[in-house]
């Protein structure tokens, strides 16, 4: 059986089994087993790629090149982490009697389904398939956003879906226009939308139509990535989604939508040269970083804080890709990699705090969590260091790489603004996290906090933290090779 198809089928099967009502333990075992095998299969697929093959399926509609392989591996990795944490999360809620059987089924089915859709995004070689896959992720995740079934969950889900659908409609229009730009060149069969084919005929495409298409595609997939000003659904969705789903959205979905943006960028560069989409990405990226700044300063909710951080990071990556050139692209792809390692720590530790305090609002949590839940708070502080790009952690290196490339290039003003925003963001993020974790334990005894235990969820957080720390000093050779391969794909060399 085709390895790539197996990679995609594994989570789909897991989802199907998860949807069937059944006893808890075996279902969880299948769930974790499915996600683990997905990760292993993704690794194997990437390994195939590194060995010189090009895994493909459906007549080239699915095809794995360097960029796909990188995103596949990272996404599957996050999927596994999220799965582990999901089980821990359910267990914890079980303890406090918060979760219904329906919700368990929902989570166990939706997480792998969401993952499957994301893997499909990463494996797609076809703009049509890409669009369908992204739409599928949207539909899978909207239920995760509405998972808690509170008033605010519905509100967030509605906003998420409407904005997402508008974005997808834009992306679809872009896809159609791109197809239209190659009338008579690309042909009419399915493979006409393969970017391998589009790239091969880049010179024959109608430039203006491509421009139009690129604008719609960037805005469309930018909505899914959460680039400003289409970012507005993010804080709501992140706050409402349960933490295991949050991390899938913040890391997996972000990587996948960036993947989509990159595919567009690659096509645009082949047809129009690097400036057109590069500048658009630069603009959207800078807007994202700038928009995130004030909201981090005035934030009132821990998970929304993470959402704005995620807007910031997608902005950073967009800036990196927009700056262009090998160094900046390497920086941005490294940023994606390190972000994939670092963000789960933040989400899981914040999720633990939120679960133990039964809310993620700062007011409800109160200050001084370090004395109540030392492990989770300590990990949150550690994650803050990572996420704010402090050395010696990975994101520092990638940000430095991007900045360095930026100062070498012509966009000095943009880079300077970007740097200034990073400084403010750092301060804001630290201020907010410090507000929660540090200080005297002022919580009154009327609202007792659940005791912190080294359960599966916390264990997953610790493991994620260890991996993130290690990743700063040592990235496995094959992963580095994937990053470099992805750089080659994006840079077209």
């Amino acid at each position: 059986m085709n390895l790539l198809l197996a990679t995609l089928a594994a989570p789909l099967a897991t989802a199907a089994i998860g949807a069937i009502p059944g006893p808890r333990r075996p279902k969880e075992a299948v769930f974790l087993g499915g996600l683990a095998s997905t990760f292993v299969l993704a690794l194997a697929t990437a390994g195939r790629y590194l060995a010189g093959e090009t895994p493909a399926a459906f007549g080239g509609a699915l095809r794995v090149d360097g960029l796909s392989a990188l995103v596949l591996v990272l996404t599957a990795f996050v999927g596994l982490l999220s799965g582990l944490y999901s089980v821990g999360y359910l267990e914890r809620n079980e303890r406090s009697g918060f979760v219904s059987a329906r919700q368990r089924t929902e989570l166990l089915a939706l997480v792998p389904a969401y993952l499957a859709a994301m893997l499909l995004v990463a494996a797609s070689n076809n703009l049509g398939v890409l669009w369908i896959a992204v739409e599928a992720t949207t539909i899978a995740s909207v239920f995760l956003v509405a998972f808690q079934n509170r008033d605010t969950s519905l509100e967030a889900a509605w906003k998420f879906l409407v904005l997402g659908s508008v974005g997808l409609a834009f992306a679809l229009l872009g896809t159609v226009l791109l197809f239209a730009s190659g009338q008579g060149v690309l042909g009419e069969e399915m493979s006409a939308l393969d970017w391998t084919r589009i790239l091969a005929h880049a010179n024959a495409l109608h430039p203006f139509t491509v421009k139009l298409a690129v604008v719609f595609l960037l805005v469309g997939y930018g909505t899914k990535a959460g680039l400003a000003p289409m970012h507005t659904w993010k804080p709501d969705a992140y706050r409402e989604a349960p933490s295991p789903a949050g991390v899938l959205m913040a890391v997996g979905m972000m990587n996948c939508s960036l993947y989509a943006l990159l595919r567009v960028h690659i096509v645009s560069r082949a047809v129009l040269g690097p400036e057109f989409s590069g500048r658009l990405l630069l603009g959207l990226g800078l807007a994202s970083v700038l928009v995130a700044t004030p909201f981090i300063l005035i934030q009132w909710n821990l998970k929304r804080l993470l959402a704005y951080s995620s807007i910031e990071h997608v902005g950073i990556m967009a800036i990196g890709f927009g700056l262009g050139g090998e160094a900046a692209t390497l920086g941005a792809l490294l940023h994606m990699t390190y972000h994939t390692f670092a963000k789960p720590v933040a989400f899981f530790s914040a999720g633990t705090l939120a679960q133990l305090h039964r809310s993620s609002d700062f007011d409800a949590i109160g200050g001084g969590t370090l004395s109540r839940t030392p492990v989770a708070s300590g990990l949150l502080l550690l994650a803050t260091l990572m996420v704010t790009g402090s050395p010696p952690f990975g994101l520092f290196w990638s940000e430095m790489t991007i900045l360095r490339a930026g100062f070498l290039g012509p966009y000095l003003a943009v880079v300077a603004v970007f740097l200034a925003a990073l400084v403010v963001l750092f301060c804001g993020f630290f201020y907010q996290v410090g507000r929660v974790t540090l200080g005297p334990d002022t919580r009154s005894s009327d609202h007792p906090v659940l005791p912190e235990r080294l359960d599966l969820a916390l264990g997953t957080t610790v493991v994620a933290a260890v991996l993130a720390v290690v990743s700063a000093f040592y990235l496995p050779g094959p992963l580095v090779a994937l990053v470099r391969a992805a750089v080659r794909v994006v840079e077209g060399v």
């Binding site: 599928a136 008033d151 605010t152 409609a169 229009l173 159609v176 139009l212």
Partner: protein, 215 residues
């Protein structure tokens, strides 16, 4: 001759959007959407017949069945269940809305001048109409408060996209088109489910009340 017909239908679609902007009864809006979809189907059939592209006929038939019949029926059912028939006062009043939409049409047409084969007419006209429809659909979503209107506007945008697919490219690859149609239906269903849940929970379909999440 065929070209003129296509352009006529496209213009008709644009008119339906104007009419949607111009009135507030939900049922009429749904019907207008149905008409719009029917016109889209007509475009598909005309081009399919003229250019001998059988798969266009398939998608056109699909469009008619789905969008001119099934979706309006589903939405009318939602209205019946909820019992809300009129849109309340939009954020921008009707005359101003129409004026702004005129502007949006100008924006759309201005861009479409750069399209390939602008001299031949069809792609240019079709893309102009489609872009105008996209912008106006979005405008509808911005100014109208009812969840149902927003779904309709979204569907209008979707129709505009299909108009480009049919009119400017003589049809996307069939399998892609089928996939997309399936996804659109799924999205509409999910939206419908959400609307139901929102109405259950908030006893209103007014999405402007959904503003508790700020900052």
């Amino acid at each position: 001759m065929i070209q003129d017909f296509v352009i006529l239908c496209a213009a008709g679609m644009l008119v339906t959007v104007y009419l949607m902007v111009g009135q507030r009864a939900l049922v009429v809006a749904i019907r207008l959407y149905g008409v719009q979809s029917l016109l889209l189907g007509a475009v598909g059939i005309a081009i399919g017949v003229a250019d001998h592209r059988p798969h266009l006929l398939v998608t056109a038939a699909l469009t008619v069945v789905l969008k001119a019949a099934l979706i309006p029926w589903f939405l009318l059912r939602v209205i019946d269940r909820v019992g809300i028939r009129r849109e309340i006062e939009p954020f921008v009043n009707v005359p101003a809305s129409l004026l702004l939409c005129l502007g949006l049409t100008v924006v759309g047409y201005r861009v479409s001048l750069g399209m390939a084969g602008a001299s031949q007419g069809v792609p240019h006209q079709v893309v102009g109409v489609a872009l105008s429809m996209v912008l106006m659909g979005l405008f509808l979503m911005v100014t109208r408060r009812k969840a149902l209107t927003q779904i309709l506007a979204l569907l209008t945008i979707e129709n505009a996209v299909f108009l480009v697919a049919v009119g400017a490219t003589s049809g996307m690859p069939l399998i892609v088109e089928l996939g997309i149609s399936f996804d659109v239906i799924l999205a509409v269903l999910v939206l419908g489910v959400l609307v139901n849940r929102i109405v259950d929970r908030f006893e209103s379909m007014d999405t402007s009340r959904l503003s508790n999440l700020r900052g």
